[in-house]
């Protein structure tokens, strides 16, 4: 089959690799019909995530048709399914509590060592996202082996297009969980850093959960425009002082809840970011973290901090004093996709959540390396690239 493989920093290629096979009873093989490039794939592309190996197949947002099932799978050949990016067994203590992203068993035993050493306990497996999270082959391919297929994939009802449901795999549940983690109360003002897909879905979700106002922060005009369409007020941090603007826009109180949907590649050109960048190049720290610092400082006293953004390592200059003195609460974590999928699928069917607005480009899988470069270089115009294995390759 053809698959998008990682070979190093800014080096991804479409290679011919072996087709996947059923290896465990609960496996299914999915023929991919749509797969997206995620903002967090750019972390891999830029070489920020350790434990990548040459030849790793990327991609954790995908859907397709069931073509083969193991004896323990509940799926049937021909069904259309969306696959969660978290690989969860459904049988362990954490899955029992619907903490699917904390699944004990989704990550192969030997790979759990890395997480155990780095974080104290190993995390669940993820598709196409380094060996820290299992080393699973991802979905930017023609076919994928999906473990625990009786727990993860959700069957798509007839009449819904791929574009409408594809984002159930990651970014829609991630944006929803981000808003849920902000414990929004009716009448709240919520500030969201980052108007990428997760931030934009967090904006929609926050309103659905009763927020009176959402203030969205970014520096790409097109992304701010999308946030405005969903009813958010906006701050362009290149034009306005973010903290000062937030204070003035909230009557001097600060937002009740803040959501950092930026993460480790925050693009602000501030002194502490530059210092972080130097430290990163000296291997003193891996995460550049301006957005989370700013969110904590801006948040009102007794407020809530939600951090869907991906961080991988250790940070310094974390404003622990502000966090403690103001009595803030922080919630974060990889998304428990399986927990949110059924309700969010309903929300899509009922027209409460719009997903298709996000897609700016559709390309052939063969063109994926071009897509990565385009997404990396132009995040104003490129909001989401969906790859289709059966698309014709575009002429140059």
């Amino acid at each position: 089959m053809r698959a998008l493989t990682w070979h190093g920093r800014h080096d991804v290629r479409v290679d011919t690799v072996d087709d996947p096979e059923i290896l465990n009873p609960r496996d299914a093989i999915i023929k991919v019909t749509s797969t997206a490039i995620c903002g967090s794939d750019l972390h891999l592309y830029d070489g920020y995530i350790p434990t990548m190996q040459a030849g790793d197949i990327l991609g954790h947002e995908f859907m397709g048709e069931v073509v083969e099932t193991g004896p323990g799978s509940t799926l049937k050949k021909g069904q259309r399914v969306v696959v969660p990016f978290t690989i969860a067994c459904g049988s362990c203590y954490h899955c029992g509590k619907h903490q699917y992203s904390a699944c004990d068993n989704g990550n192969p035993a030997d790979n759990q060592d890395i997480g155990q050493e780095l974080y104290g306990q190993p995390m669940s497996g993820l598709f196409g996202y380094s060996h820290l999270t299992g080393g699973y082959a991802g979905g930017q391919a023609e076919y994928v082996r999906v473990p625990f297929s009786d727990v993860g994939p959700i069957v798509v009802p007839d009449g819904l297009s791929d574009d409408e449901v594809l984002f159930l795999s990651d970014i829609l549940p991630t944006g929803w969980q981000a808003a849920e983690n902000a414990d929004i109360e009716p009448g709240d003002t919520v500030a969201v850093w980052g108007c990428g897909p997760v931030g934009l879905f967090a904006v929609q979700s926050a309103f659905l959960m009763g927020a009176a106002r959402v203030i969205a922060i970014d520096h790409f005009p097109r992304r701010l425009e999308l946030a405005r369409k969903f009813g958010a007020e906006t701050i362009n941090f290149e034009e306005s002082k973010t903290y000062e603007a937030l204070m003035e826009m909230t009557g001097g109180i600060g937002p009740d809840a803040v959501i950092d949907a930026v993460g480790l590649e925050a693009h602000g050109f501030f002194v502490d970011n530059v210092v972080d960048q130097i430290k990163k190049s000296l291997f003193l720290g891996t995460d550049r973290t301006h957005s989370i610092r700013q969110a904590i400082v801006a948040c009102r006293k007794g407020g809530r901090v939600s951090m869907p953004a991906v961080y991988g390592g250790i940070v310094d200059k974390f404003p622990l004093g502000a966090f403690m003195e103001k009595g803030l609460t922080l919630k974060t974590g990889q998304t428990s996709v399986q927990h949110y999928m059924p309700a969010l699928l309903n929300a899509i069917v009922e027209g409460k959540i719009d997903t298709t607005f996000l897609i700016s480009h559709r390309m052939a899988l063969e063109d994926a390396p071009k897509g990565y470069k385009m997404f990396h270089d132009n995040q104003n115009d490129v909001t989401k690239i969906v790859l289709k294995p059966d698309f014709a390759v575009a002429a140059d």
């Binding site: 072996d18 290896l23 067994c89 203590y93 473990p147």
Partner: protein, 191 residues
């Protein structure tokens, strides 16, 4: 006299005194290296005990163990992978057993690698069962020492932790998780 003033398991001791105290309570010890790992498995105690008590099952999650033959109700024959396609072998006897709770075994005289181990099962309410594996072994020096290092994948504590994770996966999910996507890769993984 050893000085141990806390309740932490001896396998986590920082001091020689603490480690010796741990070895001292281990019956019929077969070495001076003590390792132990605990895992919580979301299955009933009796089921886990029964699976482990049939030693022929253990190679399904112990990567380095090629096979275990049952010689009698108390005796087993272990065939363990070694470098260069070779194997090391020994007979082991169950030296203590409490139904549903505890099994201890030890290699018999003449073993290539003298060792002993135990496995304990304790109820953990709605979390299932707390399983603690303890291994005592005698790491030989020289060429054999290198064989042993390979045998236990560098670090016996890491090997035990990985084996217990696979035991947990098998008991909770019915399978051992793998990131391989072809049979060939899976076979290479198992080595």
């Amino acid at each position: 006299m050893t000085m141990v003033t806390d309740d932490a398991p001896a396998t986590t001791a920082k001091t020689a005194e603490g480690r010796e105290a741990g070895l001292a309570v281990h019956d019929d010890k077969h070495g001076d290296q003590l390792i132990g790992r605990t895992v919580t498995i979301n299955r009933p105690r009796a089921e886990l005990f029964a699976y482990w008590r049939d030693f022929a099952n253990l190679p399904r999650f112990m990567d380095n163990v090629e096979r275990i033959d049952t010689l009698s109700s108390k005796r087993t024959h272990w065939v363990v992978k070694a470098p260069g396609g070779k194997t090391v072998e020994w007979d082991a006897t169950i030296i203590e057993e409490r139904d549903g709770e505890y099994i201890a075994w030890a290699s018999e005289v003449g073993a290539d690698v003298p060792n002993s181990g135990s496995i304990e099962f304790k109820d953990a309410g709605d979390r299932g069962t707390i399983v603690t594996a303890t291994i005592v072994y005698d790491p030989p020096a020289g060429v054999i020492g290198k064989v042993i290092a390979k045998l236990f994948q560098r670090e016996p504590a890491i090997q035990a932790r990985r084996d217990l994770r696979r035991f947990k996966q098998l008991m909770e999910t019915g399978e051992v998780a793998t990131a391989a996507w072809t049979r060939k890769q899976l076979e290479e993984e198992k080595g």
